[in-house]
Amino acid sequence: MKIQNLELVARSVVEGFVQGLHRSPYLGFSVDFAAYRQYMPGDEIRRIDWNVFSRSDRLYVKLYEGETNTRVLVLLDISGSMNYGSGEVKKIDYARVLAASLCYFAYHQRDSVGLLTFDTDVRSHVPASRRRGQLLTILSEIDRVQPSELTEFRKPLRFLAEYLSRRGMIVLISDLYDEPDNIIAGLKALRAKGNDIIVFHIMDNFELTFPFEDMAQFEDMETKRKLHVIPEYLRSQYLVILKDHMERIRKELSGTRIDYCLMDTSKPLDTGLFSYLASRSKSV
C-alpha cells in the first residue's frame, strides 16, 4: 500500500465517519469559537458572552472547538500472527488502516501523534509530535512494517513506561497473542502513569469462530510450529480458551479503566473509531 493510498484510505474513513457524526458533540472549550448555546444552570458564569446579553437580553455561553494538545501514541503489533487473514483482509492490513485512520483523525484534531511498532521488542518508534509532516512520517512507517516475529508485550511496554514522560493517550492495536499477565501488567504500568489507554484487539473471524472442518496441519505463523489438528475435536475447547483469554483481558483492563475493543476484521472500522472517540472525549 502506498503512503498516499493509506492517507487516502484514512481520510475517507475518518471524514466519512465524522460527517455522519457532526462535530458538535465533541466540541471543547478552546480558543477557536465554534457556536453559542443558551445558558443552562450550572454553566460557569465566566463563560457567558455579555456582549450578546447586552444585545439580546438573553444569556448565552460561547463554545469553542476543542484543542487539548493530547499526545496520542499508537502501538502497533507487527508480530507474525498479525499477518493472518482468512479472507482478503489480513489482520495487519486492518490494523494498518485502523492505525492510519486514528493517526489521521488525531492529527487533524490537533493532537500530537506518534507511532510505535513492536513484536518481541520495539521495532520502530516515531515520537508524538504536531509538526508538519508528522502524519506522513507515521503513515510511511505504518506502510513499511512487515510482520514476522513473535509477540512479546513485556519488553516493549516496559520500554514505553520508561520512555513516556508526559501523559497522553495510548492506543494499542494488537491480536494480544501473549499471556494476559504480561499484557495487563505492562498496560497497568502505563495506566498508572496517567495515560488513557484504549486496546483494539484485532481478531480474524476464523480465529473467533474456528470454523475449520477438515483435518489439517496448522502452522503457527510466529513460531512455524506445526500441529496436527482435527478441528471437530478441538473447536469447542479452543473457543472456550479463547473466550477465557479475551474475557480475562477485558475484565482486568476494565478494572483499571482501560478501554478494550474487540475488532473483527470481517466488520467495518466504525466500531473502532467510536471507541476511540469515546475514550478521547473522556481524556479531554
Partner: protein, 683 residues
C-alpha cells in the same frame, strides 16, 4: 451358520471405505497457516483423547451398523435346527410305507413284509402315532395317524398283494403329505419294500421328503432272484376272418435268473382248451420266443392264455391272457355296368387271399335292388351311368345306419345325373384327358391327407407310394360345402373326396379302376392297400388290441349312435361308463387282471388285462440310493423353498437371525445418533 445370499457379503467390503478415507485423508492433510497455536496448544490432551474415543466409538458404531445390515441382507441361517433335536422321549409320528406290488408275491415276501410292519407297530410308544400307506402303481393311505395298535395291526392283516406294478414317487408324495400331519412330533418314515429298480424313474423328479424326517428302510429284496416270466405276447392279427387262425401268436419268455438257463413248457389255450405246447430253453438273463399258429378259432371272441410252468416263487407272471376274435367277412357289393372285366381288378383286390376280410359280390346296375344293397356293409358303385332312384334313396338311408359307400366316377358316369344327386359330395364338371387338356402325358396323385385312415399304409411304408400311378384321364370334380378333399392330383384337382360329417360314409374316387385307359393304378402296388383301407374305413372296421397291461387306459368308442357303455370285470361286476354319444371315446382303466367285457350298446368286446410284466424283473436298487433321490438335502430345501408346515416354522426360526441383526443395527443406530448429537452439541 450359513447364508442364503452369500454374495451379498461382498457388501462388507464397504466397511473398508471409511477406514480407507481416514487413512488417505490423513496422508494428504494440508498445511493451514494459522495466526498462533497458543490456544490450540492449551487444549487439554485428555479432552482430545475423549473426543477421539467418541469418534472412534462413532466410527465403530457406524461400521457395526454397516456390518449388521450386510449380514442381515445376506440372510444368515443356522445350519443346525434352532430347537434342540428331538430326544428319545419326544412324540414320534411314523409313516409306514408297505409295498404291495405284485413283485411282493415272490415267495413269502409279503408275509415278511407284514411281519416287519407288525414289529414296527409293536415297538410304538403310547404317545407315538402311525399312518400306514400301501403302494404299488398307486398309493393309498390305509390308516390315518393313530396310536391304536390294534387298528393298525388289523390294517396290516387285511392287506393283500396287488397285481399292479411299482411306482415309488407317488407313494413318497403321499407319505410326505401324511408326514406333514404330524406337526411338531419327531417325524419318521419307514419303507418296507423289495426296492425294485423298475419302480423308480429317475428322470425329472424332485426330492419330496423333508430333510428332518428320520428314514428307515426294510429291504425285502431278493438276491439273485429265481424267476421266469412271460414278458409279452404278440397276437397279430387280433381279428381273424377264417376258422383257422393264420396269424402268429408269439410269446416272449424271459429268464430273470442271472446264473443258469431254465427249461420251460409253454402252452397256449383258447377258452381253456389247449391249442399247442412247446418246450423252450431260456438262457440266463435272456428271452426266448414261442410261436403258435394254425389253431382253430371259434366265431366271436376267444379267451386266450399262454402258460409256462417254471419252478419259481413268483407265479403271477407265469400266465398271460389275450383275446382273439373271429369275425364274419365284410360283405362288399360292387355295382358296375355289367361290362366284362370292368370290376376285375376290384374283385382281385378283395379276394386275392383267403384271409382277407372281404366277401365280394358283383352285380350290374341294371339288376341292383334296394334289398340287395341293404344286405352288404360296404357298396362300391363302380363307374355306372346312373343309379335307379330307389337304390339311390336306399343308399342314402343305409349310410345313416353305418353302411359305407365308395363311388367311382369315370368314363361311363352321366355327369348330369350325378350332378342331380344332391347327396353326392362333389359336383362333376367334365372329363379331363390329361394329354389333351393339360398338355402333359399324365398326372400323379401327389397330395393326400397323411392323417387320414385310408392312407395309413403309405405312412408306414416307403416302398409303397401313391404317386407311382399315372393318371391319363379323370373326372374333374369340385368338392361341395362340408366335403373334405382327401387326395389331389398334381394339378390341384381333387382325386378322393369324403362326404361331410353330417352325411358321413361316402367316398368319391374320380378315375376308373377297370383298365389302363384312364390310369395304371390297378397295376401298381399302391392299389391294394389304398382300396383295402378305403373299404376298411367305410366299414368302420377297427382292429382291437389282444391285451392291455393293468393300469393302461382301454378306449371304449361309441359307433354311429349314442349308446350306453359298460364294463364287466373278471369277477362279474358291472361298471357303467354312462351314455356315450356317437363317436365319443372314453377310457376305462381296469383295476384287476383278467378278461373284461366291454359293452357298447349291443356290441360286446372282450379285452384281456395282464399285470405289468416289468414286475417280473426283481432287480433291486440300494434303498439308500432311493432315499438319496427322494429326500431333500438341506441345501435343496433352503434353495427350492420346499417346506412342510413344521419345516416352515423350523426354517423360519433358523432364519430369524436377520431380524435380530436388524434390531441390533437399529439399537446401534440410536446409540450412534445419541453420541453424535452429544459430540455435535459439544463442538
Amino acid at each position: 451358520m450359513s447364508f442364503l445370499n452369500p454374495f451379498l457379503l461382498f457388501g462388507s467390503l464397504a466397511l473398508a471405505i471409511p477406514v480407507l478415507i481416514h487413512l488417505v485423508r490423513r496422508e494428504k492433510s494440508e498445511i493451514i497457516p494459522f495466526s498462533s497455536l497458543m490456544f490450540l496448544l492449551k487444549v487439554p490432551k485428555r479432552s482430545i483423547r475423549q473426543q477421539k474415543i467418541k469418534n472412534l466409538l462413532l466410527m465403530a458404531l457406524r461400521l457395526l451398523i454397516l456390518a449388521l445390515l450386510v449380514g442381515a441382507f445376506a440372510r444368515p441361517y443356522m445350519t443346525q435346527p434352532a430347537k434342540p433335536a428331538a430326544n428319545g422321549t419326544a412324540n414320534r409320528g411314523i409313516v409306514v410305507m408297505l409295498d404291495n406290488s405284485y413283485s411282493m408275491r415272490y415267495g413269502n415276501n409279503f408275509e415278511r413284509l407284514k411281519a416287519e410292519a407288525q414289529k414296527r407297530i409293536d415297538s410304538m410308544r403310547a404317545s407315538d402315532r402311525m399312518a400306514i400307506i400301501a403302494f404299488n402303481e398307486n398309493a393309498a393311505l390305509l390308516s390315518r395317524p393313530t396310536s391304536d395298535k390294534n387298528a393298525l395291526k388289523a390294517v396290516v392283516d387285511t392287506l393283500e398283494p396287488s397285481f399292479a406294478g411299482t411306482r415309488y414317487y407317488e407313494a413318497f408324495t403321499l407319505a410326505d403329505r401324511a408326514l406333514n400331519e404330524f406337526g411338531g412330533d419327531q417325524r419318521q418314515l419307514v419303507v418296507i419294500s423289495d426296492f425294485q429298480r423298475n419302480g423308480w424313474n429317475r428322470s425329472s423328479r424332485e426330492s419330496i421328503i423333508a430333510t428332518d424326517v428320520k428314514t428307515e428302510t426294510v429291504s425285502l429284496a431278493v438276491q439273485n432272484p429265481n424267476n421266469v416270466g412271460i414278458e409279452s405276447v404278440s397276437v397279430d392279427p387280433q381279428t381273424s376272418f377264417t376258422r383257422t387262425y393264420t396269424g402268429r401268436m408269439i410269446a416272449r419268455i424271459h429268464n430273470y435268473r442271472k446264473d443258469i438257463p431254465v427249461d420251460v413248457n409253454v402252452s397256449v389255450s383258447l377258452n381253456d382248451k389247449e391249442m399247442g405246447r412247446k418246450k423252450l430253453t431260456v438262457s440266463a438273463n435272456s428271452s426266448a420266443l414261442a410261436e403258435f399258429t394254425g389253431f382253430d378259432l371259434p366265431l366271436g371272441f376267444s379267451k386266450g392264455r399262454v402258460r409256462i410252468d417254471p419252478n419259481d416263487p413268483l407265479k403271477v407272471d407265469d400266465d398271460f391272457l389275450f383275446a382273439l376274435e373271429r369275425r364274419e367277412k365284410l360283405k362288399l357289393l360292387i355295382v358296375d355296368t355289367g361290362k366284362a372285366k370292368q370290376s376285375l381288378y376290384l374283385r382281385q383286390a378283395y379276394t386275392s387271399s383267403a384271409d382277407l376280410p372281404f366277401e365280394v359280390a358283383i352285380i350290374p346296375v341294371s339288376s341292383v335292388t334296394p334289398e340287395e344293397v341293404a344286405r352288404h356293409e360296404v357298396v362300391v358303385i363302380n363307374d355306372v351311368p346312373r343309379l335307379p332312384d330307389k337304390v339311390r334313396e336306399k343308399l342314402d338311408d343305409l349310410r345313416k345306419t353305418g353302411q359305407g359307400q365308395l363311388v367311382i366316377l369315370g368314363e361311363n358316369s352321366e355327369i348330369n345325373w350325378w350332378n342331380g344327386y344332391a347327396k353326392l359330395p362333389v359336383k362333376a364338371a367334365q372329363r379331363i384327358f390329361v394329354a389333351k387338356d393339360r398338355g402333359k402325358p399324365w398326372v400323379s396323385l401327389t397330395t393326400y391327407d397323411r392323417n387320414h385312415g385310408i392312407f395309413k399304409p403309405f405312412e408306414k411304408s416307403t416302398r409303397v407310394v401313391l404317386n407311382s400311378a399315372q393318371f391319363f384321364a379323370y373326372m374333374n370334380v369340385e368338392a361341395k360345402a362340408g366335403a373334405v378333399v382327401l387326395a389331389k392330383y398334381e394339378d390341384g384337382s381333387p382325386a378322393i373326396v369324403e362326404s361331410s360329417k353330417e352325411d358321413h360314409g361316402m367316398l368319391v374316387f374320380n378315375s376308373t379302376v377297370d383298365n389302363a385307359k384312364w390310369n395304371d393304378l390297378p397295376l401298381k402296388p399302391s392299389f391294394l392297400p389304398l382300396f383295402h383301407e378305403m373299404i376298411r374305413y367305410l366299414s368302420r372296421y377297427n382292429e382291437n388290441r389282444g391285451w392291455y397291461a393293468l393300469g393302461e387306459g382301454i378306449p371304449v368308442v361309441a359307433g354311429l349312435e349314442s349308446v350306453a357303455g359298460a364294463v364287466i370285470d373278471p369277477k362279474g361286476d358291472r361298471q357303467s361308463l354312462g351314455q356315450l354319444t356317437a363317436g365319443q371315446a372314453k377310457f376305462f382303466t381296469p383295476a384287476m387282471p383278467g378278461f373284461h367285457e366291454i359293452r357298447v350298446g349291443p356290441d360286446t368286446r372282450l379285452v384281456a388285462v395282464n399285470p405289468p410284466s416289468s414286475e417280473g424283473n426283481l432287480d433291486s436298487m440300494p434303498p439308500e440310493d432311493l432315499l438319496a433321490s427322494i429326500q431333500r438335502t438341506q441345501a435343496e430345501s433352503q434353495q427350492a423353498g420346499f417346506f412342510g408346515s413344521e419345516e416352515k416354522a423350523e426354517y423360519a426360526r433358523r432364519q430369524m437371525i436377520w431380524w435380530y441383526l436388524l434390531l441390533i443395527a437399529l439399537l446401534a443406530g440410536i446409540a450412534e445418533i445419541y453420541i453424535a448429537n452429544r459430540s455435535y452439541k459439544a463442538s
